[in-house]
Assembly symmetry: C2
Homo-oligomer: 351 residues x 2
C-alpha cells in the first residue's frame, strides 16, 4: 500500500497535489483575506496588492497569488496525524502570512522588480511602505496564532517565531554571499543558507500541522526534518529554474539569477568543480554586468561544469531523505499520501 508513493506515480501524484493545492486555497483563503482585512488603511492596500487580490489602484483582480504549498503542508500534516485540517486553518494562514512577509522584504533587499509576473510591491508603493507592510504581515502571522484558542497554538507561535529568525539568518547569509568572491562560498555554506532560507519554513509548516494534530515531540521533529529536506529539494529545483526556467512560467527574465550574479546552488557547485568551465563561469561573474549572450554562455558553463547535474542529483537525494524522515514520523505512508504528493509536486516543477 505504500509502494504507489514510495516508487512514485508521476502523473497521479502531481494531479493529486494540484487538486490539494486548489482545495487548500479554497479552505485557507477566506481566513487569510479576513486576517489581512484587519490591517490598517494603506498597509492593507499594499498587502492586498502583494497577494494579487488587487491592482495597484485598488480595483479587484485575480492575479497569481502563489501556489499555497506551505498552507497545504500544514493541513496535510494535520491530516496525516489523524487531526482535523479545519482546526489548523489559522496555522496554515499564519505560515502563508509569514512567507509573504519574507517575500516583501526579500524583494526590497534584493531589488527584485517583479514577482509572479507583476511589479513587486516596493516598485509600486516605495521602499518604506514595502518594509512597513512586511513588518505588519510578520506581526499579523504571529498574532493569528497567539489569538488561536487551540491548545497547540502557543507552541506553534514559538516555533513560527523561531523559524522567522532562521529565515532572517538565511536571507542575511544570502546577502553576505553576494559580496564575496564566488570561489569563496562553499557548497556547504550555500546548502546551510538554503536550508535556513527555504527549508526552515516548509519544515515549520509540517511541524505546525503535526502539533495541531497532537503529535508527539519526536513526530513533530521528524516532520520538521521532512519539510526541511523537501524544502532543500524545492530550492535546488528553484535554482535550476532561475537559470533554465521558462520566463512565461517564472515571471522573471531567462537566466535572471545569472544576470544578478546570484551564487545559487548550481553556480556554486559549478565554481567548485575546478574544471575549465568553472574558470569561464568565474570570469563571466567578475564582469559587472552580463548581457543576454553572456547569460547564455554562463548557463552553458554551469552545465558543462556539472552544476546542473549536481543540483538535480542533490534534489533527488534530498527527496529520498525527506521520505525517510516522513516514514519515521508516519510509519503508515498511506496516511502521508498528501504530504508525499506535495513533496513530489515541488520537485517536478521543471518537467
Amino acid at each position: 500500500m505504500t509502494t504507489t508513493h514510495a516508487t512514485g506515480s508521476p502523473g497521479g501524484g502531481a494531479e493529486g497535489a494540484a487538486g490539494l493545492l486548489s482545495r487548500t486555497r479554497t479552505t485557507v483563503n477566506p481566513r487569510l483575506r479576513a486576517t489581512v482585512e484587519s490591517l490598517p488603511g494603506q498597509i492593507r492596500r499594499i498587502a492586498r496588492y502583494h497577494f494579487g487580490w488587487e491592482h495597484a489602484d485598488g480595483t479587484p483582480t485575480e492575479a497569481n497569488a502563489g501556489k499555497a504549498i506551505r498552507p497545504a503542508l500544514v493541513l496535510a500534516a494535520t491530516q496525516a496525524f489523524g487531526g482535523d485540517p479545519k482546526e489548523a486553518v489559522r496555522a496554515a494562514a499564519a505560515v502563508e502570512l509569514a512567507h509573504n512577509f519574507t517575500l516583501l522584504h526579500d524583494d526590497v533587499i534584493d531589488e527584485d522588480p517583479t514577482r509572479r509576473n507583476r511589479p513587486t510591491a516596493w516598485t509600486v508603493f516605495g521602499i518604506p511602505d514595502a518594509i512597513i507592510a512586511g513588518d505588519a504581515l510578520c506581526a499579523l502571522s504571529l498574532r493569528l496564532l497567539a489569538e488561536d484558542p487551540h491548545p497547540a497554538s502557543a507552541r506553534a507561535a514559538a516555533r513560527l517565531a523561531d523559524c522567522v529568525i532562521e529565515l532572517c539568518a538565511g536571507q542575511q547569509a544570502d546577502c553576505a554571499f553576494e559580496n564575496r568572491a564566488p570561489q569563496d562560498v562553499t557548497i556547504d555554506e550555500c546548502l546551510t543558507m538554503a536550508e535556513a532560507k527555504t527549508g526552515a519554513l516548509l519544515g515549520c509548516a509540517c511541524a505546525l500541522g503535526a502539533l495541531y494534530a497532537g503529535a508527539g515531540d519526536e513526530e513533530v521533529e521528524a516532520m520538521d526534518a521532512f519539510g526541511r529536506e523537501a524544502g532543500l529539494a524545492f530550492q535546488l529545483i528553484d535554482d535550476l529554474i532561475g537559470i533554465w526556467g521558462d520566463p512565461a512560467h517564472t515571471g522573471k527574465p531567462a537566466g535572471a539569477d545569472l544576470a544578478a550574479h546570484k551564487k545559487s546552488l548550481p553556480v556554486v557547485a559549478a565554481m567548485a568543480s575546478g574544471s575549465p568551465a568553472a574558470g569561464e563561469l568565474a570570469e563571466l561573474y567578475r564582469a559587472p554586468a552580463m548581457d543576454a549572450s553572456a547569460v547564455r554562455r554562463a548557463a552553458d558553463a554551469v552545465e558543462r561544469a556539472g552544476g546542473r547535474d549536481w543540483a538535480q542529483t542533490q534534489a533527488a537525494d534530498r527527496m529520498a531523505r525527506a521520505v525517510h524522515h516522513l516514514s519515521r514520523a508516519v510509519p503508515d505512508l498511506a496516511s502521508a499520501d498528501e504530504l508525499l504528493a506535495l513533496a513530489e509536486f515541488v520537485t517536478r516543477r521543471t518537467r
Copy 2:
C-alpha cells in the same frame, strides 16, 4: 495619600523615576541580553551594536542603550496591581525588543544617520542587514512571550502583535505626511499618527504589566489608555526637543526635525495657526534644504506661531488625561506611585 502625586512633587518624582529606570535595567537587561544572544551570528552582532553593548568591530562597550522606559512601565504596572514584577520580566524584555525593532527600521526608512550619539546600524552594517536584524528582533519579541509559561502570555503576545501593527500604521502615516504639503496635514491626523507611533507601545507596556498581574479587562484597557496618553505627552515633549533640544543630550544636531522638514506636532500646529509666522514657516519648508540660519528662523517661526506653547499645553493636558485613566484603573493612587513617577519623568525631560 494620593495628593503627593496628584499635585506633583517635581524633584522627588523625577529622582524616583531615575532610580526606577536604573533598577529596571538591572532587572531586565540580563534577560534581554540572554534573549539577544540566542540570535544567529551576524544578526546577533548587529543587535548587540544597536543596543550599545558592542562597538561595530565587536569589542564590548557601555554606550547609552536607552532609558528602558517601556520595560519600567511593564514592571511598575504589574506592581500597581499587586503582581510580582519578577514574573513580568519576559514581558518587559519583549516590549523593549519590539521597541528596538521599530527603531532599527525607522532609522532605515527615515535615513537617520545617528541615534543615541552613535551611527545608526544601517550606516554601519548596510540597509539589508539593518532590515533583517529588525525583522529578527520583531520575531524574537513575540517568541519570548509565546515561550513564556505565564498564564497571561498568550493574551500578552496577541496584544503586543496588535501593537506592532499599530506602530507600523503610525510609521506609515508619518512617511505619508512627509510627502504632503505641510498645510495639508491636520493636527488631528498628526495626533492620531503620534498615538499610533508612540502612544500605542507605552499603552501596550502598561496593559501587559496589568495582564501579568491578573488584572481584569477594564483595568487592562484603562492602563492601555493611561500609557497612550502619557505616550502622547512624551511625543509632544520629544517633538519640542527635536526643535529646541540640546544636541549634547539628544545625540542629534540642533533643529534636526526642522532640517529634515519633519511635520512634527509643534510644526503642524504652527502651520495651522494662520498667523504671519505660519506663512514664514511654510515658505522655509518649501525650500528643498535648510542651512543652520534657516533652521533657527524656522524654530523662531514655530514659536511665534504658537506651536511651542500649543505643544506644551497639549502635553500637560495629555498628562492630566493619563492620570485620570490611571485613577480609574488603580483607585488607590499610592499603589500607582511608580507609574506616576515614570509619567512625570517623561514629561519633564526638557527642564
